[in-house]
Symmetry: C2
Subunit: 229 residues, 2 copies
């Protein structure tokens, strides 16, 4: 029997590479996309479907989690809070943080995985080179994996695979290029849906990564600053 994995595909670059890695590891993919009321949702959904088409994924589930917008507290979903300019040197948790978002996402993924009998969840979280979100760290995923063990049927065994957890954006981009991940189909900008702004935190992380990898990013940008490490 083929191994089956629920892969979280936001439409961003990391999730695209995650899908590519799951394919490389001979998993059949069940693709999960969350619409949590973010500004750029329709563009991200297009990226999700483009990436699924590229990998011939037939099991797709799109879940509305707009309650995260209802709960608020984040610039990603609360339109009263501006999306800030990137500040890559800062140690502070940025206001784009949706409280405990990954736990919500993983809980949904686990429910689906238990129903379709998947063996693993793939999530493209990055600890080292990330924005400092507490729910992007491997200690968090370890704790969640233990929670899955305790909270599902005795026969259910689901691993949380975080293949990018110790990677930099540059390494992810290099790996993606190597295993032919369609990075040009992914979308990262938190602000815009047609031409990426180039200056929000997510654009900055992406552009800095491509720059460091020495690879050209093929998506269109309004401005394209040379972000350095």
């Amino acid at each position: 029997m083929n191994k089956l994995a629920v892969v979280l595909i936001s439409g961003g670059m990391d999730s695209a590479v995650c899908a590519g890695i799951a394919v490389e590891q001979s998993y059949e993919i069940a693709a999960l996309h969350l619409n949590y009321g973010q500004r750029t949702e329709s563009r991200e959904l297009k990226a999700f479907n483009d990436i699924c088409d590229y990998y011939n994924v037939s099991k797709r589930l799109i879940v509305d989690v707009s309650f995260l917008a209802q709960i608020g507290g984040s610039s990603l979903t609360d339109k009263n809070i501006d999306v800030p300019e990137a500040n890559l040197g800062s140690d502070e948790i940025p206001n784009s943080y949706v409280p405990f978002r990954n736990a919500n996402i993983l809980a949904i993924a686990t429910s689906w995985a238990e129903v379709i009998k998947a063996d693993a969840l793939f999530i493209g979280a990055m600890e080292g080179d990330s924005s400092g979100y507490p729910d992007c760290r491997r200690v968090f995923f370890d704790a969640f994996e233990k929670t899955i063990d305790e909270g599902t049927k005795p026969e259910t065994k689901i691993k949380i695979i975080t293949p990018l957890i110790n990677s930099t954006k540059a390494e992810i981009i290099k790996l993606g290029a190597e295993i032919k991940v369609p990075l040009h189909l992914s979308w990262s900008c938190y602000r815009e849906s047609e031409i990426a702004c180039g200056t929000c935190e997510s654009c900055a992380l992406r552009l800095r990564g491509f720059n460091a990898a020495g690879i050209e990013d093929e998506i269109p940008y309004k401005v394209k600053p040379e972000y350095k490490y």
Copy 2:
């Protein structure tokens, strides 16, 4: 400053008693109700609001989690699976189990709690006298509490309080009567919304509890079998 707790209020009897206990412990209540597409949702929502009115709760959040119905796999939400007759002696996990439901509920509760700076989550889960759901056991809640510690901001400290975890239904009903919980405003039936069926698993657990407590259940039933331990 007052202590603030997010209390999960489904509209069932246990959640009503949980609210009563939180009040007894001098917590201000923020009431969270989940609509997960169950058959009897509108009746449960009425029970939620009636219980909130009784305790003068102004912070109320109702979250649509109908993705649990979309994911399926349970007779509570999948209309193609019949709600079974009660079988209280069985060791099997009943088909009313929604996979990993409590993790989804707690993830939402935690996101809200982090935003409103609550100190605790109250959930009326029962381990001993329950239906055998894996996500109703204290080991699961302990694992989830650890996940909260790892996945939220460093300054966020949220306890999961399960005051009924080792209680029987009969003990809960006695305690509820003692601290003047409005049990008559709660709703338990999985099948009906006007007159409780009396024979689904949830009705059976409720009626057995009232019977053992020696207290009369004031809500209307179609049939009222004498369930025994």
